[in-house]
Assembly symmetry: C2
Homo-oligomer: 190 residues x 2
């Protein structure tokens, strides 16, 4: 596949509008291909990881939590932000254990993607977590409240097909994990 030599805009200035605890807001001035100036509003957030923890019986371990931005309680795979200088893989193992009590001895990367490319700097990396050890060491942030929910993988897959799972990371991980899971777990079909 070949692309034309299209010229796109260039960022020429960056101004901080708000610096919060979790996100920052900036306005960018861009030079458009026709020479005019334009403005873009962007949100800076930390990159994140999410893991679908899959045990040897074909069950997955999820979390149910309230999301204030959309005022809804969602069923999701465990996820979180990268801490300090840890790698995405380390963050995935840590978040999985902290939120579900299951520590994956192996994590397989599925994909990295921009979750809101129109206005956010944030990238998400998705993993399947396997060879799970139940440590029970659930450790949540002081203002984080969630509930663990386990179910067969095929039940989660059906919920995605029925649009009953509302967040992109869980939908994507469930769909992209299917061929991995079919290969690695014998007992997965109902």
């Amino acid at each position: 596949m070949k692309f034309k030599n299209t010229v796109f805009e260039k960022i020429v200035n960056r101004k901080s509008v708000f610096q919060g605890k979790y996100l920052a807001l900036q306005t960018l001035v861009v030079k458009l291909p026709d020479g005019r100036l334009g403005e873009r509003e962007i949100v800076r957030v930390k990159d994140a990881v999410a893991v679908l923890p899959l045990d040897n019986d074909g069950n997955v371990h999820l979390v149910r939590q309230y999301r204030a931005a959309i005022d809804k309680t969602l069923l999701e795979i465990p996820a979180g932000l990268l801490n300090g200088d840890e790698s995405a893989r380390q963050a995935a193992v840590r978040e999985c254990e902290e939120e579900t009590g299951y520590r994956p001895r192996a994590v397989t990367k599925l994909i990295t993607y921009a979750h809101a490319e129109g206005y956010s700097t944030g990238f998400m990396t998705l993993y399947i977590g396997t060879d799970l050890e139940y440590t029970g060491r659930i450790h949540l942030d002081s203002t984080e409240f969630l509930e663990t929910v386990s179910m067969p993988y095929h039940e989660l897959f059906n919920m995605v097909q029925e649009n009953r799972i509302m967040d992109s990371k869980t939908i994507l991980c469930t769909l992209m994990g299917k061929s991995f899971i079919m290969k690695n777990v014998r007992t997965i079909e109902p």
Copy 2:
């Protein structure tokens, strides 16, 4: 599947921090289940739609554009925000024609999801667009510059598998559209 009767936080106050052209920032005060107060930073954006336009020869019509937030040029399905009081379906038909010049006479809904449930109010609805009429009526916003790119669907599918597509809407639409496409297009395999 049954959930426990977990009590989650409740929003008790909402403060506007920034009102831009495309997005607004608010801080929320929430009452946590243990009675303490917490703060959440959220971004308010309009809901959006995206369409995978698929012709009778099994080709898809995409756009390549620069995304300032991540400072990268991405290959994506046509997408945009809902205008005024138009429905998601109307917005999908309009955005498809305005960005690619192809007007879908039929759009089939795949899914609606929250694209950044941790901090954004935004929902995205995905469609497959079929029975395409080429009108050539490309009409971009005054600060929008993009390039159209056509390719066989299976080539896009392979790019997704190789993590060469970076945005969640295009990845999701390509994966979720597969069974629809396999049923409706005979000439799709290489």
